[in-house]
């Protein structure tokens, strides 16, 4: 079955722009990215769009479809009524470059601010041995495809540009949680308490656990429940729990 759909696509650049109307053919089984490509091929040859795998795995085609942050290649046209207008805009938390392409370098800057895995002393690379149960939890976080939809949706920076310097965003707080749960990470030996640093240096306190990151994650990672809240609890251990504080004074604890 084929029908003609009404699309509104944001066209423009950092100096301005707006939503432009298009009527475009839609075939059974297609996704929003297919339609954007058809627009490029037939009506708007200069429409800028970033994409790569068309399989929901590269994280390039992030955009907002009817106001919801989504991967265009994983948004089926069948979820819309044939007569429904489909509005496609670039991510609204980041500076736009052109049309649907935004500058996501904020995220790369934040990634660099998270101290890397610290190898344990006396164990050479290739000699790391870990039990499956000890790494299982953080394997969920490694499903991340770095689409930055969570970063885009998080109201802490989406609605407050001024919070960007202080807040790492859900994706990179999750990275800290991953390292803090890592069975071999030896950051503590170098005086880095990752959970406390998440709060002090990476803005964990800005997150008010309203779960929008979880809602939009195309990999269905339970970012809030499994990374952010556990990280908040870990920070409480370090900063606000007198029993743990006392225990740490008396004997060094290794969980």
């Amino acid at each position: 079955m084929t029908h003609t759909a009404h699309f509104r696509v944001w066209r423009g650049d950092a100096d301005g722009g707006g939503l432009q109307d298009y009527d475009v053919e839609v075939n059974d089984g297609e996704v929003v990215l297919d339609i954007i490509h058809r627009l490029q091929a037939t009506q708007a040859a200069d429409l800028a769009v970033r994409w790569n795998c068309k399989a929901g795995k590269c994280g390039s085609c992030s955009a907002e479809v009817n106001g919801r942050p989504r991967l265009m290649c994983m948004t089926r046209m069948s979820v819309f009524q044939p007569e429904e207008t489909v509005t496609v805009t670039p991510l609204r938390a980041f500076p736009v470059i052109r049309d649907l392409v935004t500058d996501v370098s904020f995220n790369y800057a934040k990634a660099r601010q998270v101290p890397a895995f610290v190898p344990p002393k006396g164990v050479a690379a290739g000699e790391y041995r870990m039990q499956q149960v000890d790494v299982e939890r953080s394997q969920e976080f490694r499903k991340c495809i770095e689409c930055f939809l969570c970063q885009d949706t998080c109201h802490v920076v989406r609605d407050h540009e001024e919070n960007k310097p202080a807040f790492a965003g859900p994706r990179f707080l999750m990275r800290i949680a991953e390292l803090d749960m890592h069975p071999l990470d030896a950051a503590a030996d170098q005086g880095l308490t990752r959970a406390a640093s998440a709060q002090e240096d990476h803005g964990l306190g800005y997150c008010n656990i309203t779960k929008c990151c979880t809602e939009v994650c195309p990999e269905h990672i339970k970012i809030t429940d499994n990374a952010l809240i556990p990280l908040k609890e870990r920070a409480v251990d370090r900063k606000y729990d007198p029993l743990v504080w006392l225990g740490n004074k008396i004997r060094r604890r290794e969980g």
Binding site: W10, R11, G12, G16, G17, G18, L19, Q20, E64, N66, G67, R68, P69, E84, T87, T89, P90, R92, A93, P95, V96, Q131, V133, D134, E136, T153, H155, V156, R158, D159, H160, E161, E162, N163, H182, P183, G203, G205, Y206, C207, N208, I209, T210, K211, C212, E215, V216, D225, I229, P230, K232, E233, R234, A235, V236, K239, Y240, D241, E254, G255
Partner: protein, 272 residues
């Protein structure tokens, strides 16, 4: 080229450099429904619980005591025939005895990670829904006073365990009849059993509980028992929202039941 647009403010999604779109959001679904329902439901409960907590009456009808009034710690409590009426506060307390104990469950739920989400979204609109711009000019989240105090949640969890234990005791007593003889069960007993089951499930599904029981560990392999407990709590934790609502409703209904029986509006049907 497309029609030019001039955003109405220069904050948030209207920050210069971001795509110029005048709408605060472009969602076409019913994004407002869930925060609205949360806000209405929470308001109903708060109004009801406030009325009942200050009412200072109709909270005991042997063998049932309203969960809002247990334990009853002031001398002005009704005599509860072996129940949790420990008059440790003496007679200087002239207000409703419910106010002495409600702070604990109130604090537990107020700092609960799920309820936080519900009222931040429903009442504070921060954010009202995902990708819907919030109305506030600035935002500091839980980084400073007073919201940084949300970090005390785990202490309320410990207290909530005590409260749940006392309410369990009340449920056991609900298997006695009006005169204190064992082997009774009425509709009220059933209401109480369901309520306490939901309260325990809610309490144990707490994120702090999940952390304390095992989430804080780095080597599950070295703690097999805690690992298994962590898994079980995790299953409950996945339903924390459901349990938060259902236990809230069941507490309200258990209290309402006691009120109806105590005020004589209704006679407790007896099973045996």
């Amino acid at each position: 080229m497309a029609t030019g647009t001039t955003p109405s403010s220069d904050r948030g999604v209207f920050t210069p450099g971001r795509a110029a779109i005048t709408a605060r959001h472009l969602r076409t679904d019913k994004w407002w429904l869930s925060p609205l329902v949360s806000a209405i439901a929470l308001t109903i409960f708060v109004v009801y619980a406030t009325w009942r907590a200050f009412a200072n009456g109709d909270y005991y009808s042997a063998p049932y005591v309203s969960p809002l009034y247990s334990p009853c710690l002031a001398s002005n409590c009704t005599d509860m025939n072996g129940g949790a009426d420990w008059h440790i506060f003496g007679s200087w307390w002239g207000l409703s005895p419910a106010l002495l104990v409600l702070v604990f469950p109130l604090g537990f739920r107020l700092t609960c990670y799920y309820y936080r989400k519900a009222y931040y979204r429903g009442f504070w609109l921060s954010p009202p829904a995902c990708a819907v711009a919030e109305p506030h000019a600035t935002y500091s989240g839980e980084t400073r006073f007073p919201l940084i105090l949300q970090n005390v949640h785990r202490y309320f969890f410990y207290l909530a365990l005590v409260v749940a234990a006392i309410l369990t005791y009340d449920v056991v007593l609900a298997f006695r009849d009006r005169d204190g003889n064992w082997g009774h069960a009425g509709l009220g007993t059933l209401v109480f059993v369901v309520n306490i089951a939901l309260i325990w499930a809610y309490t144990l599904s707490c994120h702090s509980c999940r952390h304390i029981i095992g989430g804080k560990l780095r080597h599950f392999s070295a703690h097999p028992v805690r690992y298994r407990l962590w898994g079980w709590v995790g299953v409950l934790n996945g339903r924390h929202m459901l349990l938060a609502w259902s236990s809230l409703v069941s507490v309200g209904l258990a209290d309402l039941y006691v009120y109806l029986v105590a005020s004589g509006a209704f006679d407790d049907p007896r099973f045996f």
